[in-house]
Amino acid sequence: MVVVSDLHKSYGTVHAVRGVSFDVRRGEVFGLLGPNGAGKTTILEMVEGMLPIDRGSVTVDGIDVAVEPARVRRRIGISLQKTAFFERLTLAELLRLFADIYGGRARVDRLLERVGLHEMASRQVKTLSGGEQQRFAVAVALVNDPPLLFLDEPSTGLDPHARRELWELIEFLRLEGRSIVLTTHYMEEAQHLCDRVAILNAGRILALDTPQRLIDRLLATGFRKDVVLQPADLEDVFLQLTGRQLREQ
């Protein structure tokens, strides 16, 4: 679905991405993990055709991103790290607008229902909570019914409840057969959602495999940490108190 080879990007004297290569297979959730400034968003935006590529190549569904970036963007779904929409339009109006931009049919009710916002069609984005805004951003990314979705730090800033709701949505999208590339600096999120992850630091991929294989590889080196068996943690308390219904569903 996506093939990235020897990707480079510099901003002045700062070499932000240094020879990154990976591929994304059909129907998988692929995670780019790394601390802030590791180059996750820069890589993602070059793959999406949002940023020019300095060196290396990216193909999405066989299309060379450097040659036809706009064509690639029309075929994929993108949820940017900092999502913004026209302030004074309702959710339904925004979805219709984006459907017209893609030249497709607006499936407003279906899209809003899929992200759990069907009762908010007449509200404006600014009146939504952070979690609702992220889910709406995913709804907009789905307007053109793309086989490949890019989600840039979709759960950053969300409370545990909203994050779990978003995870459920991403799992549902994977079940529909879509490929998803997401960036995150939450390891728990990557472990929960991703089929394969690439761990980045300073613009380089340090490791790329399934989460379990990466863990096994670490354990094989003799790494052990002190394990404190605790049947619940503070997040469980939080979810129990605020999100009981969600868990029961």
Binding site: M50, A84, E87, L89, E93, I101
Partner: protein, 358 residues
């Protein structure tokens, strides 16, 4: 319908919807300008449309005095007397709308004892209250002729128009107000909105759809143009209701549409060229305010300054508006239109070259 046309149509409608849902940002300047018009009307005229009539009375007869009395009795006439030279000066300077000359032989008998037939010369400023009040003035004179001088017609009126460069208060004010509105709407509002979209990331989100930048710019320009022209039409309608403004509509539309396009392109060029949205808004304002000053006070500027400012697009709008206000037609403002078209093309090319999504 092609996808790009659909996107253009939908974005244009969305922009208009957003302007309507944010009246403070999109219409506050327009409402202030309407308020200025109403206030001007209230301060200048008080109780409705008035005609400033200056009379050159060369006759000392009782009949001439009776005519003056009839004229002063008309509520919508503000009558004053002046010498021939002063009367012409008042007309030229826009301090009067119409001049009526009473010849010295009014009330003089001929050899048979009957009154000598006389002709009253009326000179009015084209396109002002003076022109509109001509039928009333003629009616007053005819009634006076019949009632005061007897059944045999003795007095007739000959009227001629004069095109004066300097008009009344509204002729001076209206071009400036319209140019102000165009500058505010096209340059500041359009550039500000564009800069805001860039700052908040709305443009990046649109870029992510793969749409062409030209579709977005065209939709943004169309909605801004429609709003600006609607507001300009509103100002002209209110001015027309409050004052006597006679303008050639086709010429006016061409002049204002081209003027709007120039400042819209200027706003887009500024907000495209300067990456930082706050700086872009500040630069747009810095460019706009001197031009607003020029628009409002062009007549009062010294000639060495106007020799430079006359090449600015705002000068072509105010100059064209002044000509149209004097009753001129398309031919008289051709040069203004050509210059504006030149500015529009140059700035649109520049705006297209410096456009950035982020």
């Amino acid at each position: 319908m092609s996808a790009e046309l659909r996107a253009y149509r939908s974005l244009t409608a969305a922009n208009l919807k957003m302007y309507l849902r944010n009246p403070i940002a999109s219409s506050s300047l327009f409402l202030v300008l309407i308020a200025i018009l109403v206030l001007t009307k209230f301060l200048l005229n008080g109780q409705g449309p008035h005609t400033r009539l200056v009379v050159v009375n060369a006759s000392g007869s009782a009949q001439a005095a009776a005519l003056m009395k009839e004229l002063r009795a008309v509520p919508s006439f503000d009558v004053s007397e002046a010498s021939p030279a002063d009367a012409r000066k008042m007309l030229d300077q826009g301090k009067s709308d119409v001049e009526l000359a009473i010849p010295n032989d009014l009330g003089q008998p001929d050899g048979t004892g009957r009154l000598v037939p006389v002709r009253l010369a009326v000179i009015y400023r084209a396109g002002t209250a003076g022109e509109a009040s001509l039928p009333l003035l003629k009616g007053v004179v005819e009634t006076y002729d019949e009632r005061v001088l007897g059944e045999i017609p003795t007095v007739s009126v000959t009227a001629s128009a004069v095109h004066t460069r300097i008009g009344g208060a509204i002729d001076f004010l209206l071009p400036g107000l319209v140019a102000f509105n165009i500058l505010g709407s096209a340059l500041m509002l359009a550039a500000g909105t564009f800069a805001n979209y860039k700052a908040t990331g709305v443009l990046r989100r649109l870029k992510a759809t793969g749409m062409r930048s030209s579709v977005f710019v065209l939709a943004h320009s169309t909605s801004s143009f429609l709003l600006g022209m609607l507001q300009t039409a509103g100002i002209l309608i209110v001015a027309g209701l409050l004052f006597t403004v006679q303008l050639d509509v086709l010429s006016l539309f061409l002049l204002l549409a081209l003027g709007y396009l120039v400042f819209l392109a200027m706003g887009l060029a500024i907000s495209g060229w300067i990456r930082d949205p706050q700086r872009a808004t500040a630069v747009a304002q810095t460019v706009a305010f001197p031009m607003i000053f020029i628009a409002l006070f062009s007549a009062a500027l010294p000639s060495n300054i106007t020799s430079v400012t006359r090449f600015l697009p705002v000068s072509y709008i105010t100059d064209g508006m002044e000509h149209l206000g004097e009753g001129a037609r398309l031919g008289a403002i051709e040069l203004d239109l050509i210059w504006l078209a030149g500015w529009a093309v140059a700035l649109l090319v520049a705006a297209g070259r410096v456009f950035r999504w982020d």
